[in-house]
Subunit: 436 residues, 2 copies
Amino acid sequence: MSITLQDCRTRDAQDPLRALRDHFALPPGVIYLDGNSLGVAPKAAAARVADVVTREWGTDLIKSWNTASWFDLPQRLGNQLAPLIGAGQDEVVCTDSTSINLYKVLSAALNIAREDSPARKRIVSERSNFPTDLYIAEGLCKERGLELVLVEPEEIAASLTSDVAVLMLTHVNYRTGAMHDMAAITAAAHAQGILCVWDLAHSAGAVPVDLNGAGADFSIGCGYKYLNGGPGAPAFVWVHPRHADRFWQPLSGWWGHAAPFAFTPDYQPAPGITRYLCGTQPIISLSALQCGLDVFTAAQSLGGMTALRTKSLALTDLFIQLVEERCAGHGLGLATPREHAQRGSQVCLTRDEGAGVNGQGSGAYAIVQALIARGVIGDFRKGDGGTGRHKDILRFGFTPLYLGFEDVWNAVEHLRQVLEGGEWQKAEFNQTHAVT
Amino acid sequence: MSITLQDCRTRDAQDPLRALRDHFALPPGVIYLDGNSLGVAPKAAAARVADVVTREWGTDLIKSWNTASWFDLPQRLGNQLAPLIGAGQDEVVCTDSTSINLYKVLSAALNIAREDSPARKRIVSERSNFPTDLYIAEGLCKERGLELVLVEPEEIAASLTSDVAVLMLTHVNYRTGAMHDMAAITAAAHAQGILCVWDLAHSAGAVPVDLNGAGADFSIGCGYKYLNGGPGAPAFVWVHPRHADRFWQPLSGWWGHAAPFAFTPDYQPAPGITRYLCGTQPIISLSALQCGLDVFTAAQSLGGMTALRTKSLALTDLFIQLVEERCAGHGLGLATPREHAQRGSQVCLTRDEGAGVNGQGSGAYAIVQALIARGVIGDFRKGDGGTGRHKDILRFGFTPLYLGFEDVWNAVEHLRQVLEGGEWQKAEFNQTHAVT
């Protein structure tokens, strides 16, 4: 029997996490399915940031390094984040950007792996990994005369050979929402003496992660997607304690020094994860990140990440089912795995090349634009134009903290109307691909 | 004839820059002489940041990459900053931290210098350079098997030998306020085939700088000191156009890509300074920086950096003169050069070892603490305890944008009272050296 709008409303009424939605400043008239790109603002952020600007900076000025504990902020936020990713206390710091943190941990991983086995000269990653991760790896390889090997997901196992130093993967793929089995892949890599770096950009706050349980080596992730930390919020970095003291990461700035206020001319790395700090952090943005983390702290008493995962899968299951029931016959396909264990918190729809206006392109970009014009915010990711395995994608992120089942119903209803009315074929929606 | 309080008030009344003070949210009861550590908040910052949080992030969400031009923000701020440092348009970006930007330019400088002359294996810097600069250089040397050579200021000329790749200096010394002759030193280095990296942390917005006029190669600097960009505001980076396209800096993230939204797996650096961007920037903090830069834009019609420099020298001259007239006999000395051409926008007083309570230490820390308790905010920098050339320092920064001549009078009057009344000898001011 088909699902009805009333069914969705009933599920919202029964949702034990429904109250969390009230923590967010959801813009009126919008169904926001892009929390995997930039999370919605927690209501607390405006007041928190105002306090940082007017009191901490404005009134207390330099004293706030002590009185507002600016100096501990990267560690305090790291400790607040740690339970979401299976990290221990004092194993995580929030700092810098994801790309820069990747440079730190990839440098460390390469140094450790190659100190043990100098013949290991490769980094293996996925060809469809998030590009900035590949760019950082490419830069390091170029600098050190190493090789970056890019493979398809099904080729990962076979690529773990004795000349590989580091396997660098993003846990949930940004294009497809496909999720790797972190524990199994880490074990397979370790069996070959290979260290694992996991990017949790699309995982932290979206799916349960257990870095220590999986025996992972290094991890980094993003503060502004599912963690709702604000635009360009500082990222995070985790290093397994067995590695943390072993290597002096290359961005050796004052905040990672063992005695940062001794002002000695020589660098002595702080013990543990603190050495992964570098320069002075953007305190206003870093403070806003705390408001995002506070919602997860509030979610703890409602079941935490386990309950959020249950709801996330229910939302994405519902979206898939409704699209298939109500939007059939419009050339849409599913890029995201149906298998729960392989799915992140997003659903990506494909559209075939040639399904666009006058048989040109896929029309996926125009469909996304038509949805945005209706207040349904998803995004578009370009495929390879039919030259390879990647089709154009309509990407929809589902944040269980603030989305409900009726939102999913309404989003699919808008999609149905856009497709059936041919609305996406209007010139205004077909103009350009310059979308972020 | 001695200067009087009335003289100072007269000078304030005649100060053509006096109106700029109204741009700042100066805390009541405070004379803030620490703008060289964290600048005062511009009044506009609270509203600007609130707008970023509630409208750009809160309402417009992901669209703000385009509608609020987040994507151009590092370049727009860089262009606004450029005239303050003698840089051209599209030569500067505001991004990341000073330490991280130093890593980028120092890597680039080393690669370029050593590509031309592989035998050049040294970085030369000052022993009393700001420590984080030395730490970054030490890290790079360790990574690449190079040598960091630290010299005293008077030894710089002799250290420019044919095995040196890069001379890395901070234009205005953070401890003493001594300023290098950028043009002369750059010319001397270039004559030996050595590239120059200039840190403008204590120069940008404090003294006129002419990077292009001096023929400098690379430069970085801080957004939160004299630029008043907010705590941990993103820093800036400048590369001379002759070098900008030559090297792929190692932090090769998505924002420095030639086509960042093409999502190609391979890195192609953007032309020019844009390739010195890496990952996603903290938009809230970056937006606050604009408020600091806007005050300099407003200062343009009042004579800009030339007028600010005239006032800065008048303020520091006055401070030196008043301290010498009114605080004599208390063991204070002057660490900052009297010569205008060698002085930044700060005055550092020394105090002899043995001048502290019961002949222990210098008492400088306690004097600074006693001043802070009176609302006169300066800071303390520890010396070498009499083992070398560095005495304990009382450091006072003078920001001509918001300080007046009466402020200087009052600060010195507080210092006189603290010294003459023996107030600094109280136990509460002598407790600890854990000052930031």
